[in-house]
């Protein structure tokens, strides 16, 4: 397990309060029992394990947490919160931290996941449903990853599992209104 050493200057105690308020999760109840980490399928790819993330949040280590790989490699599998004796909703904390990182434009260690979410939602905003093929192509262009999964993509196309043309729901304008009102806070 990696030891994290943080200079006091990097800690923002107010951050713990912001996370608690936005997520509704009482991080102070965590007593570092490690049940979450021992249950987590993604630890092998994490820079901070789930129990460490909670500790870092208690300390207000904002930059360390928002730039971490952990918040993007968490699979949102809900195992940790199901087993935590103190009902610490770590997946909800992960969401809150992802939302903060996206809002504040933090560039962290994992680049692809935030791009994926942006591309996915852009597609939903325009059509009410994602246009998968277009989305995959855009993701590839934006992450400059042209060759992985090409053969799988082709196989899916041949099986008729990816439609060539984008569809659109009738009420697509309702969806763009939902985006305007919720993400942009406009009426």
């Amino acid at each position: 397990m990696k030891c994290v050493s943080l200079p006091g200057s990097e800690l923002e105690p107010a951050f713990a309060g912001q996370v608690t308020e936005q997520s509704g999760v009482d991080i102070n109840r965590c007593y570092q029992c490690l049940t979450c980490t021992l249950s987590c399928p993604s630890v092998f790819a994490m820079d901070h394990y789930p129990h460490q993330l909670v500790r870092l949040l208690q300390l207000g280590a904002k930059k360390e947490v928002l730039q971490s790989a952990t918040i993007w490699v968490c699979a949102s599998c809900e195992t940790c919160v199901t087993r935590c004796p103190n009902e610490i909703d770590i997946p909800r904390l992960m969401d809150t931290l992802r939302q903060m990182a996206i809002r504040e434009g933090v560039s962290g260690k994992e680049k692809t996941a935030p791009v994926y979410h942006r591309v996915f939602l852009k597609s939903v905003r325009q059509r009410g449903k994602p246009y998968e093929l277009g989305m995959l192509i855009e993701l590839k262009l934006r992450t400059r990853d042209f060759f992985s999964d090409l053969s799988m993509g082709l196989k899916m196309l041949l099986k008729g599992k990816l439609s060539l043309l984008p569809g659109r729901i009738k009420g697509y304008r309702e969806i763009s209104n939902i985006f305007r009102r919720s993400v942009e806070g406009q009426d």
């Binding site: 939602l121 994602p130 899916m156 599992k161």
Partner: protein, 282 residues
């Protein structure tokens, strides 16, 4: 027995065979599914990773349409199931969200109607006895493991119909279909489906773990109730000795004597040889 049916986006594309087999099986069981008029994306993981207002509003629009129709909703995708249940739960428990949500979606919504997964409806409402009566081609000899993954059973406060550590709903169902269902340790492990496009390496690692668990008990196939898991388990298995992955609805259809070939042809890992070996395609 009538439900508003929310197929979810991937049922129109990558998991079309799930949709088709689900509709066919419901017809056999007398479950009337009325497709939710002009349904839209539930927001999926991108919604809640980006903004909670947005994700509740995207899910809420569909819930409000079902409420207008006066029906409980049946869902097949566990990820959509959890999103819809989550928003319904929030609206029920926080009156403040109810008003804000209605403003965001421009529709009234009071969380009056339930949202249920089709597996729950078939086993707990239609009933396992009724399913058993319709079996004409028992899946004798087919050695399978029931894979639940994450969102059918977690978090239990939201999903609610089975045990989060040792669920049995699908096992019971597959047993009455005549399959040789074996207990295993991988049933609620995460397959990493949500990471399949952003961290393929992680998805491969997690799928390998599930495959090891299935191999330990000599399973010939894995059965799932999730389109995302299906795509991930099929496409992220290591190349050598692939094993097929079935939707539970396909196996019900097969046991009911329906023509399963059009569904099974869509699989990336063909299950036809395995089924022929057990004489289940005739």
């Amino acid at each position: 027995m009538k439900y508003a049916y929310y197929p979810g986006c991937s049922q129109e594309t990558t998991s079309e065979e799930y949709n088709q087999s689900a509709l066919a099986v419901c017809q056999e069981l007398g479950i009337e599914l009325v497709e939710l008029p002009d349904w839209s994306c539930c927001g999926a993981s991108s919604g809640h990773a980006t903004d909670y207002r947005l994700s509740h509003a995207l899910a809420g629009r569909n819930l409000a349409i079902a409420e207008r129709e006066g029906l409980d909703t049946a869902v097949v995708c566990p990820a959509c199931f959890l999103r819809l249940r989550d928003t319904r739960h929030e609206v029920k428990n926080a009156a403040s969200l109810r008003e804000r949500l209605s403003e965001l979606i421009g529709l009234p919504y009071e969380a009056k109607h339930d949202v249920r997964h089709l597996l729950d409806i078939i086993v707990n409402t239609v009933g396992i006895e009724r399913v058993a009566e319709k079996v004409t081609r028992p899946l004798t000899g087919l050695r399978v493991v029931a894979y639940y993954g994450c969102y059918l059973v977690r978090p239990p406060e939201l999903t609610g119909f089975d045990d989060p550590e040792n669920p049995q709903t699908m096992d019971r169902l597959l047993k009455v279909l005549g399959a040789d269902v074996v207990d295993w340790r991988g049933k609620v492990d995460c397959c990493g489906g949500g990471l399949s496009l952003t961290r393929r390496d992680m998805a491969q690692e997690l799928v390998a773990g599930i495959r090891r668990a299935a191999d330990e008990v000599g399973a010939e196939a894995i059965v799932t109730a999730c389109g995302l898991c299906h795509a991930n388990l099929e496409s992220r298995q290591a190349r050598e000795k692939l094993i097929p992955v079935f939707y539970f609805t396909e196996l019900i259809g097969l046991a009911f004597g329906l023509d399963a070939r059009p569904w099974l042809k869509k699989h990336l890992i063909s299950p036809l040889t395995l089924l022929e070996k057990h004489g289940l395609l005739g």
